[in-house]
Subunit: 185 residues, 4 copies
Amino acid sequence: MELKPAPEWHTTTWLNTAEPLSLERLRGRVVLLHAFQMLCPGCVARGLPQAQRVAELFNGAPVAVIGLHTVFEHHEAMGLQSLRAFLHEYRIRFPVGVDAPGLDGDPMPRTMRAYAMQGTPTTVIIDAHGRLRRQVFGVHDDLLLGAELGTMLVEAKRSAEAMATNSPASPPASAQCTDDGCTIA
Amino acid sequence: MELKPAPEWHTTTWLNTAEPLSLERLRGRVVLLHAFQMLCPGCVARGLPQAQRVAELFNGAPVAVIGLHTVFEHHEAMGLQSLRAFLHEYRIRFPVGVDAPGLDGDPMPRTMRAYAMQGTPTTVIIDAHGRLRRQVFGVHDDLLLGAELGTMLVEAKRSAEAMATNSPASPPASAQCTDDGCTIA
Amino acid sequence: MELKPAPEWHTTTWLNTAEPLSLERLRGRVVLLHAFQMLCPGCVARGLPQAQRVAELFNGAPVAVIGLHTVFEHHEAMGLQSLRAFLHEYRIRFPVGVDAPGLDGDPMPRTMRAYAMQGTPTTVIIDAHGRLRRQVFGVHDDLLLGAELGTMLVEAKRSAEAMATNSPASPPASAQCTDDGCTIA
Amino acid sequence: MELKPAPEWHTTTWLNTAEPLSLERLRGRVVLLHAFQMLCPGCVARGLPQAQRVAELFNGAPVAVIGLHTVFEHHEAMGLQSLRAFLHEYRIRFPVGVDAPGLDGDPMPRTMRAYAMQGTPTTVIIDAHGRLRRQVFGVHDDLLLGAELGTMLVEAKRSAEAMATNSPASPPASAQCTDDGCTIA
């Protein structure tokens, strides 16, 4: 089975970041893309808090947590000003891109369309090579999400090592190991 | 940093399994050892349900979820008959070993002592080579636990491949990949 | 201790109701007034769901659940159009009044000021005589809120009876009693 | 509809109380009777914590929270010694009676049979006159339970007043009222 490159992102604005982000710029890091709408109850109650915890717990590991605001309804109620206030009130500090309007009158925004998302929340995991590895519609399970991120972090580490030195296997980049165990965060 | 082999288990009885288990017998699989007491509130409310979900979600992957009943107080209230009823009522179906009484009047049971556990619940992760990789006292975070299991599953897969065929890298054993992503469970 | 009449409400618009509401019009019913902002995390996660459950569970009893949108920050992000979309997405079906802007440049809206609320969420209970009986800033406990509503419902029932017939005591209006017990909902 | 007196309790032992309790001795107080088994998951996760919160929140009001250990399965695993350890570990401090074994080989204990309970957890509310007012099998809703307790507390207060002085209506016994509201706890 061939893994395919993740579709590029088409955004109009970025918040919580000095410069616009793209998959190209994030190459070498595992990307957790969280597609949401600020008035989507499941996103607010479950999806965004999960993304926030990933950002905190994997801080230090080569994981980039990115929000994507994919508004496909109530556009007038979820404009940029509203989104800005929302991110402030909910203390969401990771970068958030605003998905570009659909082409040719498509009600679904462009990136959402490119990934064929079914709705929000949608969790997308892209590996360090920019390949789409996982896409889940609805709330994703913490244990599975953790396992997927762990898996791709080891792979990223191995690739980096192979390119750099052909060095022998060593503990994954994300792990701090001591005599009595290894810890990730 | 050298990783050390996990201490052997010393048990008097096993429930939910036809034959007694040992680290030796589980070599090649990642082991999640959950040390608990049936009257420990944190174990009942959080630790055991987490272990149960790992057993369900990672069913199919080379992960063994094992319970260890490490009673260090109220011994008379947590005997074998009580434990059996408890496992039945709480629908715990993974194998559970009963930790052997401490030597020379030690109030702490033998395996608990060998791992220098601080109390219950304690989560221990042992890799496919039988090495102790992680030990957490208290409730462990789902995202981190998932990442640790994911990490060790990839390692286990790579080792198996290296031994068998020196074959090139392929997706981890735990992942079912399709055109639009990879899934673990 | 003298109980005081609850301050009148000053609103600009009402949603989810055919006609504007006032304390006067609700006389004879116990009023649960839930003051919130649509971008207040505690309101969204805890306060509004509690108000919704009261509306459902006490359906049939003389209790009126009323929302009050008391915006004192990010006004531009919480306008009428946004509120309308929010109520739709969160399936909030009880009447919601929009608090009137503060007088003389007061940043706090008028009703919020009249009740001297400290912020959102704030839960206010007004008895069937229109008297302010309880005001809680922050998330209120379900057991206590239930007890307060139960208390005021019995009082309302007794008053109604006293006025109507001077009839002897009977089970409270809210209770459906059978041979084996009484139920409220 | 006639309200009936609650059946008497038949117990073999009492824990967490200096003297055995009976409905007769608790007359004048609203009684929350929580029937449970120490190995019943729903009791441990939901029912007992609810009873504990009632005991804490209504401390000061004439409410008696009483546990009843109604073992109808795994008797050998839930003996007195086990129950004692369980109450200690879960920090349950309200009085708990042990239901008497069923008569003539009845597998259901006597009090459980007298109330025709369907299983555990079962929540029973008895008013200050000793009348059975509410019986719920399964986890009971906090809002409804609060309302039922509030209702019966007002009734108890009115009865006491009527007997004592024929005094005019006053705020319920459970409420502490100030200028800006009334509070129960």
